[in-house]
Structures are given as structure tokens and as C-alpha cells.
């Protein structure tokens, strides 16, 4: 697959369709891959990589990239296309400056899961028909790819590309995933248990802001938590309650816009399952307003803001000061 992407990227660069390529760059190991912009065929040939560890969702970078001169080629996995659409819906991406190539994805590996299996000092990983052959300085290992797949990929919501200019490989279907199972487990807890669960999770937070900064739905020019004059400014929690506020407020803010891309949980250095907060909102939306998937189409409006005064909403919600 990587060879095919490189071939196509070079073609599109050479025929002038695009003047640069947003993709993934090789690191020192097989897994430490950095999002990068390639401006020449040579760079693409030498440094472009597409493998089991290319998890990063590139759509957020289009925000700044699409403001630059000329067209940028971007490779989007199925789940990334939802973020892409959502950003288009919010007018954060200049569509004319983007050439989107949809690419197949069979799920990405989570290197932390490999490490949790006691496989360390990894020097190489090869995927041979669904089995990861791993070289380490201590010897060879072999693991079924499914066993070390990222949580978000095990619960993949869709193999369908909802936006692209061209497709490499086959398009898939929206999947009937089990992504709400864990949410249901939490719903079953008593209020006290649930509070304890989240407190134990959120108290690990070091407020590094990785979740916020990687999130394609977090696109504010200045975050309320960074704004000294907002009254909500804080860098570190004064107590554990305050820490939960950061994540709960953030979850509220991206509700209806979050596409469940799972980047927040991927980047959290403390492995806090932040995606569960977002999935709770998505699940509630589905149950209260009917099936809704942010980013499924460009221009769709989140159910909670799609009310009309006469039809849907209580007057007290629409009218300042209550009913007319």
C-alpha cells in the first residue's frame, strides 16, 4: 500500500495537481511517525511512510495547510474523512485548496499494547497477513495484529470514506461497531461508582493539553482555559474536581462536532479514556434525537442546535426571558 501511495503522490506532484503532500514521515523506529508536509518527489520517495502505526489524523493540519498557496494532497483514512467533513462544515478548511485521497485502513496498531505484552526494545515490525512479526534486540516475536490493535480501531465505526477526490483501494461500509459497549458499562454504574471511576481516571491528568491540541474539533483561536480574562483560566488543578471540569467542559464543547476519531485517547500520555466522554454524548444524541454522526455529510447541523422556535424547542429555550 505504501508504494502505491508514494507512486500516486509523486504523480500528482509531477503533473502539478498539487504542490505539496500532507502525509506521514518515517521516524527512527517503525512506529514513531510524524505528520509532515512533503514538497518534492524526492522527499516523498525518501521519507514518506504508510504502515500499521500511521494513526495520526491529518485533517486538523488542513486548517493551516489549506490557507497556504496552492493545492495540498492529503491522505485520509475512513475515520479521518469524518473529521475532514466536520471541519468543512465549520468553514475551517478551504476545500478548493485540498486534494483528498481516501485510503483503505484495516486498523492501526498501538505500540503501547505491544509494550504491555512485554515486547520491548522493538527494532522492526512487519505485518504479514494479519500477523505482526516483531524484531527486538532481545529476539523475534510474533503477535496477531488484532491483539495489539488500537481500541478505536477494534471499535471502528466506519470503513466508508465520506469525502474524497479520489480513492486508492476499496471503499467500505459504515460498521455496526461495539463502540458504545463501554459507555453502557459506565451508565450501569451507580452515580457514586461513576464519580469514583472518573475521578480516578481524571486525577491522572497532567494538563499537558495534548488532547485539546490534537483534537480536530478544538479549533478555537484562543481556548477559554488559556484566556486569563475568561475567569476559567487555569494551568493546573487546584483540586481534583477542577481537573474534571477541564475535560467535562471540553467534552461539552465538542459535543455534536466530535466525530469519535479517538485522537484524544491516542495522545493522552496518562492513557485516560477520554473518548468515552465523547461517546456518551454521541450515544445520547442517537437515543434522544435519532441517529446522528458528526462529519457524515458536509453542512449537517448538530441536533442540539438544529431547533426551530415553533417546531422543536420550548419557547423558554429560544426566547430570552421565557415565553412570549
Amino acid at each position: 500500500m505504501q508504494d502505491e501511495l508514494i507512486r500516486r503522490a509523486c504523480e500528482l506532484l509531477e503533473d502539478g495537481t498539487v504542490n505539496r503532500v500532507l502525509g506521514w514521515q518515517k521516524g527512527q523506529f517503525v512506529y514513531d511517525i510524524t505528520p509532515a508536509v512533503f514538497t518534492s518527489v524526492e522527499e516523498v520517495k525518501n521519507n514518506f511512510v504508510y504502515n500499521d502505526f500511521c494513526g495520526a489524523n491529518l485533517s486538523k493540519y488542513l486548517r493551516s495547510e489549506s490557507e497556504k498557496e496552492g493545492k495540498v494532497l492529503v491522505f485520509l483514512k475512513p475515520c479521518d474523512t469524518y473529521s475532514f467533513n466536520q471541519l468543512l462544515t465549520e468553514y475551517k478548511i478551504h476545500r478548493d485548496n485540498v486534494y483528498a485521497v481516501g485510503i483503505e485502513c484495516y486498523g492501526k496498531a498501538d505500540v503501547e499494547k505491544l509494550r504491555a505484552k512485554g515486547i520491548d526494545c522493538i527494532t522492526d515490525v512487519k505485518n504479514e497477513n494479519g500477523t505482526l512479526k516483531i524484531s527486538t534486540i532481545y529476539g523475534e516475536e510474533s503477535v496477531p495484529a488484532m491483539d495489539v490493535m488500537a481500541e478505536r480501531c477494534l471499535n471502528c465505526k466506519s470503513k466508508k470514506h465520506v469525502a474524497y477526490d479520489e480513492l486508492i483501494g476499496e471503499d467500505g461500509e459504515v460498521l455496526d461497531s461495539h463502540r458504545f459497549d463501554e459507555v453502557e458499562e459506565i451508565e450501569k454504574m451507580s452515580a457514586e461508582e461513576r464519580f469514583k471511576f472518573w475521578q480516578s481516571q481524571l486525577s491522572k491528568c497532567i494538563r499537558c493539553n495534548a488532547c485539546r491540541n490534537v483534537c480536530p474539533a478544538c479549533t478555537c483561536e484562543k481556548c477559554v482555559f488559556d484566556n486569563y480574562d475568561s475567569g476559567a483560566f487555569n494551568k493546573a488543578p487546584a483540586n481534583s474536581f477542577e481537573e474534571s471540569m477541564f475535560h467535562i467542559i471540553r467534552a461539552f464543547h465538542v459535543a455534536g462536532r466530535c466525530t469519535d476519531c479517538g485522537e484524544c485517547s491516542r495522545v493522552c500520555p496518562e492513557h485516560i479514556p477520554l473518548h468515552l466522554l465523547n461517546r456518551k454524548f454521541i450515544k445520547d444524541y442517537n437515543e434522544l434525537y435519532g441517529p446522528f454522526m458528526a462529519g457524515a455529510e458536509v453542512g449537517q447541523v448538530s441536533p442540539v442546535v438544529d431547533y426551530t422556535k415553533d417546531k422543536d424547542a420550548e419557547a423558554s429555550v429560544v426566547q430570552k426571558g421565557g415565553a412570549e
Binding site: G27, Q28, F29, Y31, D32, I33, T34, P35, A36, V37, A56, Y61, A116, D120, C121, I122, T123, T136, I137, Y138, S200, I206, R207, C208, N209, A210, R212, N213, V214, D226, Y228, N234, K235, A236, P237, A238, E263, R266, V267, P269, E270, H271
Partner: protein
């Protein structure tokens, strides 16, 4: 002199230490990550290579209450509630984290001494543990650290079925003396063989050839390198690297107004990667992520060494290699600067 206990009896050592003073050690949490926790009877020491968060938290916690005030009308009261820390033991710190204490000492113990840090630092006894199975992200050797001789007050090795310890400082000797009942005499030759074994592994690590360039006399040249633009181009500006880093020591000071007009002044970790870090009323001298990214690495690899006799402010623990959301890290920066130097 080497002393030992059977590894299966390690908890006898831990029990003996914690009978006298508070003991912290790496423990696996519910999510399977190692973190330093207070020892309670029966707790097992983590077998993982390193803790997710560094050991700097002991001396420089993420949030440090400093002083309280009360303001009423024109009057202010100051409540200095600092108190002498109790003695405690940090057990199982790795060589990289142990060296990070030296890096932090140069900042916090320089005149004027930071008493919050000093208080926690001087009451700690550090038992370090050699790394039998270093990871691919380890590069402590690049900074002259020997993972096989991890220093601290007492250094320890797991040798086969034994847990061997050697006091390095007077403080360490005191600790060993206080628990000698559970220890037996160890075998120097066995420890030496283990050290040899570790050295062989260190020689095979993929990052063993990464070397910092002494750029102390090229401050402006390195600052002006065209490499910074590319290296920083996709940095998200989060502080994950800073907060997991054992040597990052930048902090903010803020006031928290609680109930009853009591105002608590605290300091908390801050990150030079954040856009408001140097923001003033008139703007900031570090306008884009490039400048902020460059500051972090210039500080570790050039500014700090200039101020501290060539010592780098990186210990090669590899945490940032594992935790950066975009996998851009100090090794990639060091390699780029090495190319520049060639």
C-alpha cells in the same frame, strides 16, 4: 560492600525500610502503568523499566502550595505554612531519573536556594535500580549516564534470583545499616557480571550513537539553523514532552482565591511550548510554535550547558519519545543538529 536479599523476599526489605520512614516505589496502577506510590504492606514493586511520570514530582510536584494570604480592606496577612519534610526513601529510581536530580539541583539549589525543593530533596534517600532490560527509546549513555551503575544513595541490581544493593553515600550506608537484619552479604563478582551483561545490551541499543554536540560556543549559529522550521512544523504546542520530562523545570506562579478571603499562592508546572508562556501586555517575543519549540531544545542542549559547565538538561530517559503525540522529540533534534555540525 554488596548486600543482598532474595528477589522473592524483596518485600522484607521494603517492610524494614517502611518501618522507619515513608517509602515510595514504582507500582503498576489499574491501567498497567508504573507510577511512584507510597509503599503499603504487600505491594509489589513494578517490573516495568520506568515510571510513566518522572521522579521529579518528589521534589518539584506539579502543584506546589507556596504561601497563603488573607486580604481585608487595606490589610494583608501572610501565612507561611512551610514545614520541615519528614525523611523518606525513593526506591527503584532508574539511572536517568537519578541524574535528573543533579540537573534540577543546578537550578533549584542555586542561590537563592528554593526552599520548597531543598526541603524535599535533602530529606530523601534514593535507592536506584540498574536497568537489566533497557528499551529502544533509551539513550542515557549519550549523556554519560551508566544504566548499569545508577548511582543515588544506594544502587541496586537484580542479579538472577537476588536483589543486590550497594551503598554509595553516607546516607545510603545509614539506610543499609538500618535494615541489615534482613540482608545477607552479597557477591561482588555476580554484580560485576550483571554490570557487564547490561553493558553488552547498552551497546546494542538503536540510539547508542546519538551524541549531543557541544554547541556552547555556537549559540547564535544553532539558534539560526534553518532546521528549526521543519522540525517544529507540526508541533501541536501541547506540553506532553515538558510534563513527562524529568528535567523540565519551568513553572508558573498563580493565586487561587478560595473561601473566606483566603488566597493561596501556588506554583505549577508550565511549558515553554505554550503560546502564553512569554506573553506580555505588548505581545510575545516568541510568536510562533517555531520559536517556542526552538526555545525548549536550545535550553536543553545549548543554554543550560552554557550555564552549567557543559552538562546537558536531558538524561535520555526516552519518555518524550514515547509520549509526543506527533513523535517529534529531542533525539530527532539532536540528530538534525549533528548534521548541522558536520
Amino acid at each position: 560492600m554488596i548486600v543482598k536479599v532474595a528477589y522473592s523476599d524483596l518485600n522484607k526489605v521494603l517492610d524494614a525500610i517502611s518501618a522507619n520512614e515513608k517509602l515510595y516505589l514504582p507500582v503498576d496502577n489499574a491501567a498497567g502503568q508504573a507510577e511512584f506510590k507510597p509503599y503499603t504492606e504487600g505491594v509489589q514493586m513494578s517490573k516495568q523499566l520506568n515510571t510513566l511520570r518522572s521522579a521529579k514530582d518528589f521534589f518539584f510536584p506539579q502543584v506546589q502550595p507556596m504561601v497563603k494570604f488573607r486580604r481585608e480592606g487595606k490589610h494583608i496577612d501572610i501565612f507561611d505554612e512551610r514545614s520541615e519534610s519528614e525523611d523518606y526513601v525513593i526506591f527503584g529510581a532508574r539511572a536517568c531519573d537519578v541524574r535528573s536530580f543533579d540537573v534540577l539541583d543546578n537550578v533549584f539549589l542555586a542561590d537563592p536556594v528554593d526552599t520548597y525543593y531543598e526541603n524535599r530533596r535533602k530529606h530523601a534517600t534514593i535507592v536506584s535500580l540498574a536497568c537489566n532490560r533497557p528499551a529502544e527509546t533509551c539513550f542515557c549513555g549519550s549523556f554519560g549516564i551508566d544504566a548499569a551503575k545508577p548511582a543515588g544513595d544506594v544502587q541496586a541490581w537484580i542479579v538472577g534470583d537476588d536483589f543486590c544493593m550497594e551503598p554509595v553515600t553516607e546516607k545510603g550506608q545509614k539506610l543499609i545499616d538500618s535494615i541489615k537484619d534482613v540482608l545477607t552479604e552479597g557477591d561482588q563478582a555476580a554484580v560485576d557480571a550483571q554490570i557487564e551483561k547490561i553493558h553488552e545490551i547498552l551497546d546494542r541499543l538503536p540510539l547508542k550513537d546519538v551524541k549531543p554536540v557541544d554547541n556552547r560556543d555556537k549559540e547564535l549559529e544553532v539558534f539560526n539553523s534553518p532546521k528549526w522550521a521543519e522540525l517544529s512544523s507540526h508541533c501541536l504546542g501541547c506540553g506532553a514532552c515538558t510534563f513527562v520530562c524529568p528535567t523540565c523545570q519551568c513553572f508558573d506562579i498563580e493565586d487561587f482565591t478560595g473561601n473566606n478571603h483566603t488566597i493561596e499562592r501556588y506554583r505549577c508546572w508550565d511549558s515553554c511550548m505554550y503560546n502564553d508562556f512569554t506573553m506580555m501586555a505588548a505581545g510575545t517575543p516568541r510568536k510562533t510554535q517555531k520559536e517556542r519549540f526552538r526555545q525548549r531544545f536550545m535550553h536543553k542542549l545549548v543554554y543550560y550547558p552554557i550555564k552549567n559547565d557543559g552538562m546537558y538538561s536531558c538524561v535520555g530517559c526516552g519518555r518524550c519519545l514515547k509520549k509526543c503525540p506527533i513523535q517529534m522529540n529531542i533525539v530527532k533534534v539532536m540528530k538534525a543538529l549533528e548534521e548541522d555540525a558536520e
